[in-house]
């Protein structure tokens, strides 16, 4: 079977119905993943497109949180999915697919950073410089950009732990499996991430909180 651009990537209702899986908008049930994975392992590109549709955004966000360029994040996301396509049998338990993809994307992103900057490979956890306070009243977009920039300066492991637990809703056990660390280490990374964020933003902290209060 060949995949056609003319058919929407998300048009997977047929596969879901075949397996008795309800195809609701935003359905992220492992049962649907199981059906699509089984079909993909038989070379079905449409089924694989369904997996891409369901998980691409998540994998891209994980990669983007590690890397600073969208093009790099796209490359890493693409590579993670291509590896899944080459060997869908690598996923023993369909419920673990999301974690597998996150782990793959994170490892590929770290490899990319290390290849690009071998001299700073050990500096992924270095504490970055502080933020500077803006002049005059802060606007919403400016505040959001400042916090996003501060997040980007967090050490990689702290950033990934925050991304998975706070932004993606992973449990600490699931995050620990993706990051291949203990649950206690995840909790420690999260605490340090939030503390480091406060430190980075401390010069502008008062203005940021004032901006948040105006948004209420």
């Amino acid at each position: 079977m060949t995949w056609s651009l003319a058919r929407p990537l998300w048009d997977m209702a047929g596969y879901a119905e075949t397996a008795g899986v309800q195809r609701a908008a935003g359905d992220i049930s492992p049962a649907a993943d199981a059906v699509l994975l089984a079909r993909a392992s038989e070379g079905d590109e449409q089924a694989f497109a369904g997996l891409v549709d369901r998980h691409y955004g998540f994998v891209f966000r994980v990669a983007a949180r590690v890397l600073s360029e969208a093009a790099d994040a796209e490359d890493v996301t693409q590579e993670a999915f291509v590896r899944l396509w080459r060997d869908p049998g690598a996923i023993d338990n369909p419920a673990a697919l999301k974690g597998w993809l996150a782990r793959m994307a994170r490892n590929l992103a770290i490899d990319r950073i290390r290849r690009a900057k071998p001299s700073t490979a050990d500096g992924l956890d270095e504490v970055p410089d502080g933020a500077t306070a803006p002049d005059g009243p802060m606007r919403h977009a400016q505040a959001a950009g400042m916090v996003a920039a501060a997040l980007a300066q967090l050490p990689e492991r702290q950033r990934t732990a925050l991304q998975l637990t706070y932004f993606e809703g992973f449990g600490n056990q699931q995050t620990a499996e993706v990051m291949q660390v203990s649950v206690e280490a995840v909790e420690s990374l999260l605490s340090r991430a939030r503390r480091t964020l406060r430190e980075i933003l401390s010069p502008a902290w008062g203005d940021l909180i004032e901006e948040l209060d105006q948004l209420k």
Binding site: A70, A71, V82, A144, V147, A148, E187, L190, L201
Partner: protein, 167 residues
């Protein structure tokens, strides 16, 4: 040492307060983001969040709101990125597809194989029907009448069954 929390009936020990500080520092102000076990442990506080340690809760809330602000400004996905991925997938072989199927039998070899298969089936059927296998087949055919009786019971009107004393 324990401190009863007013209005909620929640009593917090020193260990509870220490753990609450850890939770606020790691997971933030919203108990829905806490690990399941801690959420259950502090279920009373989940229903009465105003009982949380005030200063730690306020700091956690500020960081939460800043994170929410940054999350809304996340890096956008490049346009057509998914289509580019699927184009690459279409050109990538799968590991399983590397296994090639054996070529089909043809000509004289194919005829010979088909003849041997047909002969083995015929011999097997003859021997089987003539011996115990034949008796087993006959037994299963007669058992179908028993199956019919079970079906009758299942499909029968429950009132009839009651009258008949089956139930």
């Amino acid at each position: 040492m324990t401190n009863p929390a007013p209005h909620s009936g929640v009593t917090l020990s020193a260990a509870d307060r220490q753990r609450l500080d850890q939770l606020l520092q790691a997971y933030g102000r919203n108990p829905l983001r806490w690990p399941d076990a801690d959420r259950q442990r502090f279920a009373g506080l989940v229903r009465a969040p105003h009982q949380l340690p005030a200063e730690a809760a306020a700091q956690a809330d500020q960081v939460d709101r800043l994170l929410d602000l940054a999350g809304a400004a996340a890096m956008p996905e490049p346009s057509a990125a998914r289509a580019r991925l699927m184009q690459r997938v279409a050109a990538e072989p799968q590991l399983a597809s590397d296994v090639t199927a054996p070529p089909p039998l043809g000509g004289l070899r194919g005829l010979l194989a088909a003849g041997m298969l047909a002969a083995s089936i015929a011999i097997g059927a003859f021997v089987g029907l003539d011996t115990s296998a034949g008796e087993m087949l006959a037994g299963s055919l007669s058992a179908s009448s028993g199956t019919d009786e079970v079906l009758d019971l299942v499909l029968a009107d429950p009132a009839e069954l009651d009258e008949g004393g089956v139930l």
